[in-house]
Amino acid sequence: MSDDRFVHLEKVSVAYGQGAEQTLALCPTDLMIGKGDFVALVGPSGCGKSTILKLVSELLQPSSGNIFFGGREIGAKPIRVGMAFQSASLLPWMSVRDNVRLPLKIVPPFKASFREKKDAEYKDRVDDLLEQVGLLDFADKSPWQLSGGMMQRANLCRALIHDPDLLLLDEPFGALDQFTREELWQTLQTLWLDRKSTVILVTHDLREAAYLANRICVMSARPGRIIEDRTINFPRPRSIDVTFEPEFGALVQELRALIVHAAPGVQEAAA
């Protein structure tokens, strides 16, 4: 096993439905993601970006092909996954702190000692993370007392609290205004530089992808396939100013052209 194949999709395809009405959501796809990498998946809606996340998080079985983690077949050795979606879906009956602490109650090895440690070690752990994203003062508040941006910060914390091997983000900032979104980009970058977890980010926003990721995979319209795989080399930590540089603008333009002109994947390729 090598680190550049931490996540490995091998000829993975996904089809929905049965028989003649079967539609291909994802063409057979090969994708390798290195440990500690930050990969963004971009493409038109319905192109199978989220499908890839669901495959990797084992929420969905591939119709064909194999998925490996660290060289082993999926399911052989449980890997820790953190997930965050566009809707923060925090639990309204819990405080922000309890929401962020929830994964520790469920994920091994944390869950084994949740009872003893939840008010000591785990509380400090949660509070440290909340402090890092600037939410410590809101730890005892209810989720509905937070603004949209704060909810997403809490959502990120919940996805990270159990130190996942793999952080999966499905348009986490899609519903936020531009300013809040850019603030959260910086928060996410800081968290990632700090932890070096492997991240897969699904997004519609090409600037977001270009700002955050080390690598951008562009997908075609449904049935999805990866039509471009590009390494992004802006130096870290990136400030928001980088998004106004001509190089950045040119990259975003180029990606946009790729998506707009991309032909859909070939249906026969599935059979």
Binding site: P78, Q86, S87, L91, P92, W93, I106
Partner: protein, 252 residues
């Protein structure tokens, strides 16, 4: 309208209704055999308080026991049905069928099986309150946001863990809303059963009183039932606030 004027208005309305009732009966010269005045009802209540007490106790007892088992069964069925699509689709038609039977109609069957008295009253109170609880709890559990479920599943949470940490707390507002309906329905159930076949309970007392044309006592029985219903409703409203207050934030 602020909370204080609202309280004042609703109290005023209640008092007003009784005052109007009293004055209307006096002015129109309505006989107490048709519609007794509130003061006559209170007088009858005080006069027969000793006789009413055991009946009220019996009704409260059968209602509470029936309600308790109804909640137990309703909650378990609701959890079962709500957490499995298969169980939901399988059991729902049967549940709707059972719930559409008027519960008065089954009292004779209970009497046939268990004899007149306490048991049919408890059973009627029980079955009448199961359905609203099942519907509400299963809805609460079945409508967990799919994204939230994905977050939990990506953490490799078991079905039981998702149910315990998300489904059940999420269904609590639904559950308590249904309890408020169920407790009043339970009274309906036990009183119906007492009216049809029992020698004890407020329902039975009202039957006997009406057959001897003691109409003020019939109304006193109604008042006792209303008082018990309101008290229990209030208890569950307080419980609801404590257990599921997070769902009512807009009203605070």
């Amino acid at each position: 309208m602020n909370a204080r004027t609202q309280k004042f208005a609703s109290t005023g309305l209640i008092v007003g209704v009784f005052v109007f009732w009293e004055l209307f009966c006096l002015a129109a010269g309505i006989s107490e055999l048709v519609l007794p005045r509130p003061t006559q009802i209170v007088a009858a209540f005080l006069e027969y308080a000793h006789a009413i007490w055991p009946h009220a106790w019996q009704t409260l007892y059968t209602t509470m026991v029936g309600f308790f088992f109804g909640v137990l069964i309703g909650l378990s069925l609701g959890v079962l049905i709500g957490s499995s699509k298969l169980a939901y689709d399988t059991a729902y038609p049967l549940l709707v069928g059972i719930s559409s039977i008027p519960k008065v109609a089954v009292v004779p069957i209970f009497v046939l099986w268990f004899g007149a008295g306490t048991v049919p009253a408890i059973l009627t109170a029980m079955i009448i309150c199961i359905f609203p609880i099942v519907v509400n709890v299963s809805t609460g559990i079945a409508t967990v946001e799919p994204e939230l479920e994905d977050v939990m599943r990506s953490l490799k949470a078991s079905k039981a863990e998702i149910l315990w940490n998300v489904g059940l707390p999420r269904s609590m507002p639904y559950f308590f809303a249904s309890l408020k309906v169920a407790i009043t329905l339970s009274f309906v159930g036990s009183v119906i059963a007492e009216t049809v076949a029992s020698n004890k309970g407020v329902g039975n007392m009202m039957m006997i009183a009406s057959s001897s044309f003691n109409v003020p006592l019939v109304f006193a029985g109604l008042m006792v039932l209303a008082a018990m219903g309101i008290s229990l409703y209030a208890i569950f409203a307080v419980l609801e606030r404590r257990m599921a207050g997070w769902a009512m934030r807009k009203h605070n």
